[in-house]
Amino acid sequence: MEVELAQLRRGFDDVGYICDESALLTVYLALRLQKPLLIEGAPGVGKTELGKTLAQVLRTELIRLQCYEGLDETKALYEWNYQRQLLRIQIDCLLEGDRLAEDDLFSLSYLLERPLLKAIRAPERRVLLIDEIDKCDPEFEAFLLEVLSDFQISIPELGTLHAETIPAVVLTSNNERELSDGLKRRCLYLYFSFPDVLRESRIIRTRVPEVGERFAVEIARVIAHIRSLEELRKKPSIAETLDWARALVALDKKRVDGALVDDTLNLLLKNRQDQLLFHRQIGREGVEQLLQQPAGLGEDRECR
């Protein structure tokens, strides 16, 4: 199942995931080289979404491993089904039949598969999404390194399980801590910044088709302007943009204005300090001013 670049592009378009050409090409290369793809960027720029989209495009199951501090092998890889093994021993004691061989107890039927093992043992290629890898412990990262470089897992009682097919692996990171060089070395790297006004308005149009073209651009401009406040605790994510667009549609609005932004600010900035910052630095007047300027003056550059 080799993917062609054009096919991938069409797939992304069909699903409605808008990304630039270089991101698309990077995903394509990761698939062709069978290497994990590490995506970094601010929260809410669509990193996880890319993994999900990829599964949709490849028409395969998405296996997701959400990382957190304290995640260990038993949650990520496998665990022996202890209770079942014990029951089996009990039954064997009651039935006077053949003696139970130890090998039987440590066979695949007593193994509880966790995401990593599941992805490796799948009969056809799956998409394995390892989300927020920066939140797991360094020890787990080192362990992951081993799995991702060889795509095989050693289980002491059972031997080494090789991957039937190499899964398409997507790792995401919010840059909360630096990942190890070893892990990075194994991956292709993609950095997502917030989309520019043009692309974001395309995203809005795709996801919320009720929004007119001009309206979408206005929304995107306001969002880009808010994101340009460097001191924000959390910049509005793309998902929040979409929520906002939907809300505006529900309110039956056709244009953005200062008062409207003010009234619906809760959907964009979910933090008191950030809201105050908005009022201080932009406010109603700032929005009005922005919208009166012709589009495309200095705001098209991508902000981080």
Partner: protein, 464 residues
């Protein structure tokens, strides 16, 4: 692109990798092989795809993206620009040669050029006409004064060389001054690079020296750091929920109903008893800005470190926690302390503050308390302060001292050494160091004390 077909292509790639390495990227052969392999899957004639493929395989870091972009543009030059560049270098080379010939001719002694180095000759031709004429005249006059043998020649050489050396050093001096004058604006690179640089600069510059326009940015940075730390602390707490060692007593008890067969495994629970943090910030004139920064940092942690008490002191002690709880917002509280407290800006008396703390708030000083003093150790009545600190030290688990003075200055102060013998003294004069001290050393080990509590044992004993 300067890609000559065939095997030169790989060589070119290796050269590009070497360029990236020299710019500081960590880049191994494995990455280079990845890059070459990836090129097989793309349209190599398309510059944008080519660049993307190289970037995806060679760069592993947000910081390096920009270095990559710059190096790429420098290395893979389009054909037209390349030709232009080539013409330019040829022109420069020819010009250089003609200048050398000129110098050799003008500075010759009896038809024989003086033995000057290439640099000296180039320097000569770059002098202005007056200076050149002066030198020439000197050579000619010496030539005229010369009789049969050549005893003057070595002298002449020395003088000419010395002259050129003078101009050389003079010029270096000038360009250095110019360089200083240009200041920060000189660097190339876009908005993002500058903002990343600014953040790094903020993190690493002395907090006491921060300029007024930098303050909001520095506060935002501090805020972000404390939230990051906070998130880590929350995770740490979640992590403590994972199980400890097997608890045989509870396992057996739980499995009585299965006839003693251990179906359910019981693990020891870890109970973590929290430390009490007590922050003592020096608000005297010299420490005002620094302490308000540190206080803000800890204030940001308040939501997770519930048992955090804050004090400020200068000549007297102020208990800040209740005010913080009521009014919320550190800025207002500090402002109020400025307006009301006569203590603000006065002479520092650490000894008095510590004594007052011990006498007035003794219930806060237990074996679970970690006292963090934020001060540059400068105080009146040092001799009284030392025993006060010693007494405090005996009451609590640890006393940490965050010192804004750079460590190289520590030996200069007697107070630093004296306090340092009693408390753990940590250097802390940049935001980066503050973060390291708190995140790396304080919270890494001690916020929660691991205690494996055998709960059942206690109940058992109780019943008996």
């Amino acid at each position: 692109m300067p890609l000559t077909p065939g095997r030169y292509f790989e060589e070119n790639m290796a050269l590009f990798a070497a360029l990236l390495r020299s710019e500081g990227l960590l880049l191994g052969t494995a990455e280079l092989l990845d890059a070459l392999q990836s090129l097989r899957h793309i349209d190599i004639a398309d510059r944008a795809s080519f660049k993307t493929a190289l970037r995806a395989t060679l760069v592993k870091n947000e910081r390096d993206l920009e270095i990559f972009d710059r190096s790429f543009e420098r290395f893979f030059v389009p054909q037209a620009a390349q030709e232009r560049q080539f013409r330019e270098t040829t022109r420069l080379r020819e010009e250089r040669e003609s200048r050398l010939a000129e110098a050799a001719e003008e500075l010759s002694f009896k038809g024989e050029p003086l033995p000057l180095s290439t640099e000296e000759m180039l320097l000569y031709t770059s002098l202005n006409d007056d200076q050149r004429r002066n030198l020439q005249r000197f050579v000619q006059e010496t030539e005229a004064a010369e009789r049969e043998s050549q005893p003057l020649r070595p002298l002449l050489e020395t003088v000419v060389k010395g002259h050129l050396r003078y101009w050389h050093s003079r010029r270096e001096q000038l360009s250095a001054e110019e360089g200083n004058g240009r200041g920060e604006g000189g660097g190339e690179g876009g908005v993002t690079r500058r903002s990343a640089d600014r953040n790094r600069r903020l993190r690493e510059s002395d907090i006491r020296m921060l300029r007024e326009p930098d303050l909001p940015k520095a506060r935002a940075l501090l805020d972000r750091l404390s939230r990051q730390l906070l998130r880590r602390l929350v995770y740490q707490r979640q992590r403590s929920a994972t199980r400890g060692a097997l608890d045989f007593r509870r396992t057996m008890r739980a499995n009585m109903r299965f006839g003693g067969r251990p179906f359910l495994l019981k693990h020891r629970r870890r109970r973590r008893s929290q430390l009490q943090l007590l922050l003592l910030g020096d608000l005297s004139a010299s420490m005002k800005r620094y302490s308000s920064f540190v206080l803000q940092f800890f204030y940001g942690l308040q939501t997770v470190v519930t048992n955090l008490e804050m004090f400020s002191f200068a000549d007297t002690l102020e208990y800040l926690t209740p005010a913080l709880r009521e009014q919320g917002g550190l800025d207002q509280v500090l402002e109020r302390v400025v307006l009301q407290g006569q203590s603000w800006g006065g002479g520092t008396n650490i000894g008095a503050a510590l004594t007052e703390l011990r006498e007035g708030y003794s219930e806060m000083l237990t074996h679970r308390t970690v006292v963090i003093v934020v001060s540059d150790t400068r105080t009146v009545q040092l001799d009284r302060a030392l025993p006060a600190l010693q007494k405090l030290r005996e009451r609590v688990r640890r006393v940490l001292w965050l010192n804004p003075l750079p460590p190289e200055q520590w030996p200069l102060y007697r107070s630093v050494q004296a306090f340092g013998e009693i408390a753990e003294m940590w250097p802390c004069n940049t935001i980066a160091q503050l973060e390291e001290a708190v995140a790396g050393r304080l919270f890494a080990a001690t916020t929660y004390l691991d205690q494996e509590v055998e709960k059942d044992d206690q109940t058992y004993r109780h019943r008996r």
